[in-house]
Symmetry: C2
Subunit: 315 residues, 2 copies
Amino acid sequence: MFVFSFKKGWNPDGKHCYVTGGSSGLGLALAKILVAKGAHVSIVARDQAKLDAALVEMEAARVSPSQKLQAKSADLLSATASTAALEAVCELHDGAAPDAVFTCAGSSKPMFFVEMTEQDMKDGMDYGYWVQAWTVWAVTKMLVKQKKRGAKICMVSSMLGLMSFAGYASYAPAKHALRGLADTLQSEFMLYDIESQIFFPPTIYSPGYVTENKTKPDVIKKIEGTDEGLTPEQAAQGMLKGFVRGDNHISADLLTDIFRAGTRGSAPRVNFVFEAIYDFISYVGVPIWRRSVDGAIRGHREEHDKYLHLRGFFG
Amino acid sequence: MFVFSFKKGWNPDGKHCYVTGGSSGLGLALAKILVAKGAHVSIVARDQAKLDAALVEMEAARVSPSQKLQAKSADLLSATASTAALEAVCELHDGAAPDAVFTCAGSSKPMFFVEMTEQDMKDGMDYGYWVQAWTVWAVTKMLVKQKKRGAKICMVSSMLGLMSFAGYASYAPAKHALRGLADTLQSEFMLYDIESQIFFPPTIYSPGYVTENKTKPDVIKKIEGTDEGLTPEQAAQGMLKGFVRGDNHISADLLTDIFRAGTRGSAPRVNFVFEAIYDFISYVGVPIWRRSVDGAIRGHREEHDKYLHLRGFFG
């Protein structure tokens, strides 16, 4: 029998999966799927009440009494806290490093660049990049120290880690940075037999999305108007599909597939034939897409000027 | 007569150009070219002795006695310091915002991810991203407040802002982040008639490169072995050529042209025909390039394990 794929599958059954940002949205949806597939799942997030509720949902998905499920509160914005959170969830596993890590923590606050304070800029990098990078940093050290082979780390970037447009000057840099980290590690992890993967979700209809829309300028909402999003469950299914298949760059919807093909860089290909087609679509289609976005922004100039005056920007 | 290019030229003569990282390498080479073309040039960097020497070189390139040339010492790692440095160089121009800004400041410290300390990771983002982002942030506010039309801001990323490989886990994320910022602003700046551009240089044989090679792991040197670099003068000429032409993504050597075409994302095209060719080369060639890089890294496993033991990594 011919085998057309060289990529090994991956089975969550009996594996210890560490999911950050696991109390809601994509992280929780993913945690529940992993539990239903027999994994030991540890989630961390900040809010204890949300964690408690999430753990109840995870328990409901349990398929075996031997599964170890836990939910711990942690702030992941520093190296120290991220290391402590990792060590805390590994205690239940006698200190052994996790088999799979999914860094789903993060949030976004779209707004106009000229209105961003120093804190807004820093928050963008903290909640878009460091909240995941510190966990990756801590986990990698642990995996290499324990000489654990075959582990997988999957970060969560965004379609805005592949492209960007107005409104995301604090978020897109952080999501691009995650991509830079994942692509570096994809190469470097060959030294240790660890895999680095990264997911680029489109809009996810999550609690975070609701929060994000509160500060999102109208012109951005207009640009995004036609984009179709995914439910957290759809996004988690798509993420896990690519994760299991071993895709280094994972996308779960056609629009992101196309952007991914047009900005693949040096990342390993998912499918040489499909990506050539998507790349062609991207080559021809993206400039057309750009034209409509550019038009929307240029058409917003006058209104934006009035808006800045009203906000007292000109002093 | 037919005009095949829709892009306006840009002439440095009489313009105020603000160059960060202007005391050495790319920044200094660029500053001297701008002076020779009649611009008022302000450079900032940290080291006063280097600034003094740079100013002497700039004075030697002067073409008119009315040119205002200055060199000021500043640390650009915070919003406050970057704003202060900007305001200081604008004093000589009665507080008017610069016509063109080139953020050439930055440095890189390649090393293995598992050996990076918390400080190494933070430094990577500080010296790769924030050292430029804060200036862009401060300049943009100033330009928009003064309603200055037609200004141009050019950041300096790296070929490692388009792709990455082992050794650059603190640098590639920062250089990718700059790209995310530039692409966001390219779109958002349409609200103000400002232009956001970004340069992706390959290896530049600068003082920074000499420093960087001191910590660079051997396996990385091996991967980079065949890459040809540019002198600071060559890089500055290439950067300025793309800057004048209005390219949003600027590259100055064939290898980066190819990587740029293969990871253009939603950025405006430089040349629809050439990029299609480069994209094809990238599509076929990059996986071949990857194979040799992957081979070099995999072949380094055993030696790396010995190295980590010697360094006491396993405790």
